[in-house]
Amino acid sequence: MLHYTIRRLLLAIPTLLFISLVIFLLLDLAPGDPMASIPLTVPPEVKERMREALGLGEPVHIRFLNWLYQFFIVEPQVAFDHLFGTDFSEGKQRIISFQSRSPVMSVVAERMPQTLWVVGLSYVFATLIAVPIGIISAYRQYSWFDQLGTFVSMIGFSIPTFFSGVLLIVIFSVTLGWFPSIYDTTHEVTDWSSFVFQMKQMAMPVFVLTLYNAAQVSRFMRASMLDNLNQDYVRTARAKGMSEKVVVLLHVLRNSMIPVVTVIALGVPSIFGGAIITEQVFQVNGLGQMLITAIYASDAPMVQTLTFIFAVLIVLFNLIADILYGILDPRIRYD
């Protein structure tokens, strides 16, 4: 297993380098200009000078190598300095966003909390809801509960969040006034009432995302449970006199979770990628919103760095999913 992990990690390096190159070239090729949001009243020469100040005058390969250096050498040094108070990164150029002229990584760090709170929590909820729903749907296959589950998850898939989100706002914020329509990212939880407020402002975005994710996970859970409920070892467990609860929730569930856990693990990178549309609708302004504004603003360093981090997570969680599979299922042995 260790060998396997090391081998996969080593293999990941060229893969990721290649991915980063492709992303870089893609962004370079993409139309769009970081100066697009500058008013038309600013003359073109000035814009040209601004562009040069961003380093866009350099040839592509220099910019790419520069980015690689900054991402793999400078940024880790900065993080190290930050942790241990050293000063290795002194005077070195970090990756700077075109839009805000601030280091990309510090923006990422700033956005992390709300992304994790909203997108991450909804993912956790989705999993927590989807698993029991999947279990019940499978255990009572073709019952009304199961049928309803199918229907709701199909609806969950097919209605875009830009629509369901707005609908929720209109109902719960405008008409009923229960929840705020705009997420306050500066809010800090200090006491009970601020906690209640935090819950309120999270309610709608978390709900929308939970519905969407839960729909998928519950489908997988159901299928996997159905596969396992008919296995011979279930009968063995019953023959041992185990109660139904133990049989379903211990024996069957543990086996059914193997594929589902990998599905869940593979979905984790998307948390960090943010839920772009939902974040926008509720103004959560997490990583997803940042990515989309960066794309619209042609903020190449930001997009490059974010998508690369995302790629790292994808590769990493693919690996984690595979390893988890091996750990959860003792039959699978890598090497």
């Binding site: 063995t236 041992k240 006199g241």
Partner: protein
């Protein structure tokens, strides 16, 4: 051994019907038999004849729906298993009746260690502590002949060979010293050399623990070596019942006779050509109104097609559900003999 003692298990008129989308399947039809303490009852019959369903029905292991189990009663030590609540059944399963399933490859849960799976019934039924259960599990593994038991407790099923897994299954079934062990084709998936080991083990254990065993198989060779009495099933019914030697010597049902002929042997005479039973087994769409073997039976006559034969006494402890009297070499007289569902058959020489 134990002749005349009160039976530990007495099954009367057991029926199991599967309600499926395309109609019902009458898998078990009025099966009655009894099991005495310490004896080994062999059950043979073609694939699909209802052997497994019968045994699983009696202790409520058949999923319902689609199955519906009914009957006059399954008496186990004073409890009627058919009327028992789920909780009562759970107290009996694993504790007083052990079950070994056909396929050792899939009957163990792949994600739990073997030790855990053996300890599970111990902790539940015998309320043992973890340490006690572990000690007992180790004993059990040693009992079924797995070397280095202590270490192997923490192995997973896939780390065992097929024969060892089947031994683990047996260890689980034996964990709580059951009164009855039901073994559903426990050696079918195994090699002959391993099968021989397990049969040997069974012999020793029965001598040591003195429990009653129901042994399902379709291998007549195994039956010959191990059973005291034999039930032959066909089409969801018991078509013949006899002490083992009696059965081999005087098979009184055409199916049994055909079955005995089809099996080649490594030691006896080598037949130039194997006997076959022509035709197909019946589809059990409804309760049988005729002899289910009639379509394939060389002795069949008109009555066979209009009436389902009851089990006629044909000898001491020997009965067969056939209208043809092989002793006489002619169809039976119209008197229908012993009613189906007789509680008790006497006799039963044993081969051990």
């Amino acid at each position: 051994m134990a002749d005349g003692a009160a039976p530990v298990l007495n099954v009367r008129d057991l029926k199991t019907v599967f309600k499926t989308r395309s109609g019902s399947v009458h898998a078990v039809n009025s099966v009655s038999f009894s099991l005495k303490p310490g004896e080994l009852l062999g059950v043979v019959g073609e694939s699909g004849s209802g052997k497994s369903v019968t045994m699983m029905s009696l202790i409520g292991l058949i999923p319902s729906p689609p199955a519906q189990v009914s009957g006059a009663g399954v008496d186990f030590g004073g409890t009627d298993l058919l009327k028992a609540s789920d909780d009562e059944l759970r107290k009996i399963r694993g504790a007083r009746i052990g079950f070994v399933f056909q396929d050792p490859m899939t009957s163990l849960n792949p994600v739990f260690t073997v030790g855990y799976q053996i300890m599970e019934p111990l902790r539940k039924h015998m309320k043992m502590s973890r340490a006690q259960a572990r000690g007992r599990a180790k004993e059990l593994l040693e009992l079924v002949g797995i070397p280095d038991a202590e270490r192997r407790l923490s192995d997973f099923p896939h780390q065992f060979s097929g024969g060892m897994r089947q031994r683990v299954m047996i260890a689980i079934a034996l964990a709580c010293d059951p009164e009855v062990l039901i073994a559903d084709e426990p050696t079918t998936a195994l090699d002959v050399t391993i099968q021989a080991q397990i049969l040997e083990l069974m012999h020793e254990l029965r001598a040591k623990l003195g429990m009653a065993v129901i042994w399902i198989t379709h291998d007549l060779g195994v039956i010959a070596g191990i059973a005291d009495r034999v039930l032959v099933m066909y089409g969801g019914q018991i078509v013949e019942h006899a002490p083992v030697r009696e059965l081999f010597k005087h098979p009184r049902h055409p199916y049994t006779r055909a079955l005995l002929k089809t099996v080649p042997s490594v030691r006896g005479e080598r037949a130039e050509r194997l006997e076959v039973i022509e035709g197909q087994p019946p589809i059990l769409r409804a309760e049988p109104s005729s002899c289910s073997f009639a379509a394939r039976c060389p002795f069949a006559f008109a009555r066979c097609l209009s009436e389902n034969p009851a089990r006629f006494d044909v000898g001491p402890g020997h009965d067969a559900a056939c209208f043809y009297d092989f002793e006489a070499g002619a169809p039976r007289a119209t008197v229908s003999a012993a009613a189906v569902g007789r509680p008790e058959f006497e006799g039963g020489a044993h081969a051990g």
